[in-house]
């Protein structure tokens, strides 16, 4: 059993207040959450039932023109120039007049892009010194997991973390979120983004979202463009698929009628549309994700799945995962909507506050150096049985 009340709230209050700052990729998020101090949390395994209240959840996304990716230095500039104003907005929304009331300021320590992470932590340190509020460094993926658990109340699900920078299948055991399977090269979000770039699909609101809409519009859903299917045991690799589908996309975009797959050899009439490519890519990539997830579920014999990370908002992925879970003794899939599955500050506050309540805070700013590589299984999960 676990005591989540080990570290009490400030000046005898009966609730905790935490500020969360996220900026590991192109989304800058500020969130403020509140946990009630409840006796039941003193001796239980209820870290997914904190009765967390969201006081504010503000976010600004750095978007580049269609066909362009986002570079660390421009992303960092975006975060740096918006961070202070977003914190002010969040405090206003949360109705917090005296920020020194906060129990903790939680920031994303990693993994992610170095410069954007750093631009956020400089402000976090300054706030911590000014308000005399202790800092907590949070692993970005653990943030996603704890947010998903709290929102969906899924007790001990296998977690599929799919975003621009990560693709991992994770299961909890012995105070550690173990990585059961992962991408051997690029993350799925990255694969979708680069595919969108080749086809000049807009980045607003996100390339992945636009691919999903195009896939729905695909007219002949019964015949797929055949793509490589590269699952290797519990892991998967996507660079091969990206390379192949990218070359198809280029041929399509430049009307290269010599490509037999895309254009009829005699008439030169286009056989495959952008929608078909989007549909085939999704069916292929998501089938691989569901397969490695099912393999991990069989391994730890669980029938619950939690999908976190930006790509988790994809309804088709959720559908396919749900269909798989139904066949595994009526399991369920849990997913959160874009307020939470896309990077946000609330998830960092939630995971950070759990660390804070277990007494894990930073006392020397030297421990706040951000890191691009921060594996999910390096975190000691004290708040779970």
């Amino acid at each position: 059993m676990v005591n989540l009340n080990q570290y009490p709230p400030k000046n005898g209050r009966n609730y905790y207040l935490a500020l969360g700052l996220e900026g590991s990729a192109n989304k800058l998020g500020v969130g403020i959450v509140k946990h009630p101090l409840l006796p039941k949390h003193a001796d239980s395994d209820l870290s997914h039932h904190c009765e967390m209240e969201i006081l504010s959840n503000v976010r600004d996304t750095y978007v580049t023109p269609p066909g362009e990716g986002f570079l660390p230095r421009d992303t960092a500039r975006h975060h740096r120039n918006w961070a202070v104003r977003l914190v002010r907005l969040a405090l206003k929304e949360a109705g917090i007049s005296d920020p020194s009331e906060l129990d903790t300021i939680c920031f994303t320590k990693g993994p992610g892009m170095g410069a954007p992470l750093h631009s956020v932590v400089v402000m976090a340190r300054t706030l911590s010194v000014m308000w005399d509020v202790p800092l907590v460094g949070v692993n970005h993926c653990v943030g996603h997991i704890e947010m998903g658990r709290e929102i969906t109340k899924a007790e001990n699900p296998v977690v599929l973390y799919v975003s621009g920078g990560n693709t991992q299948v994770i299961a909890y055991s012995e105070n550690c979120y173990r990585i059961f399977g992962e991408t051997l090269d690029i993350a799925i979000g990255n694969c979708l983004d680069r595919f969108a770039r080749t086809l000049r699909i807009p980045n607003e609101p996100s390339p992945g979202y636009n691919i999903e809409q195009l896939a729905y519009k695909c007219k002949n859903k019964d015949c797929l463009v055949e793509l490589p299917y590269t699952v290797k045991g519990m892991d998967l690799s996507m660079s091969g698929i990206l390379g192949y589908v990218d070359s198809l996309a280029k041929d399509l975009f430049n009307k290269n009628t010599k490509n037999k797959l895309l254009f009829d050899s005699q008439t030169g009439q286009q056989l495959v549309t952008v929608e078909d490519l989007c549909y085939s890519l999704q069916e292929n990539l998501f089938a691989m994700l569901v397969e490695i997830t099912e393999r991990a579920m069989a391994h730890v014999n669980s029938n619950q799945v939690l999908i976190v990370g930006g790509v988790g908002c994809n309804v088709r992925l959720q559908e396919m995962m749900a269909s798989m879970c139904r066949d595994r003794s009526n399991g369920q899939v849990h997913a959160t909507d874009e307020r939470f599955c896309i990077d946000n500050g609330v998830m960092i506050a939630q995971a950070g506050l759990l660390q804070f309540r277990m007494g894990n805070t930073i006392n020397d700013l030297a421990e706040t150096v951000v890191t691009q590589k921060f594996r999910t299984d390096e975190v000691y999960v004290a708040w779970r049985e």
Binding site: T64, G67, L71, R73, D74, R77, W82
Partner: protein, 129 residues
């Protein structure tokens, strides 16, 4: 209000002082000229929506001390970036000039001795002293 300043020294420059002249516009803006979005994004048609925040004013409506400091720092930073970029160009040209002399001398030698292979690599081999 004392002003931020900077002093630069290098093997080629005895000393160069950077001073703030509060009356000039470049020290009264938070939006520096050398800290904008990168070139490739602008070329792709990006409209910059992420400029630094405007300076803050106190109850009397004047800029706060720290807002003034931030604007002055922004100007000073532009000065330094421009100056140092210029210094980089000087160094590069000097290196190119040396490389040209080297190349010309090489070609003359080749004519004289009837050189065998081509000596392009010689230019890269020239390390910056």
């Amino acid at each position: 209000m004392s002003l931020p300043l900077a002093v630069y020294k290098s093997p080629n420059v005895e000393e160069h002082r950077f001073q703030v002249d509060p009356s000039q516009d470049r020290y009264n803006t938070t939006n520096g000229t050398t800290t904008g979005p990168s070139a490739y994004v602008l070329e792709a048609g990006q409209i910059d929506k992420d400029k630094p925040s405007e300076p803050k004013r106190n109850e009397k409506g004047d800029f706060t001390y720290l807002s003034k400091l931030r604007m002055q720092l922004t100007g000073l930073q532009d000065d330094m970036n421009e100056y140092l970029t210029h210094q980089m160009e000087l160094a590069k040209n000097k290196k190119l000039k040396q490389a040209d002399e080297q190349r010309i001398r090489g070609e003359i030698d080749k004519l004289l001795d009837g050189g065998d292979g081509d000596d392009e690599s010689e230019e890269e081999a020239k390390k910056d002293t």
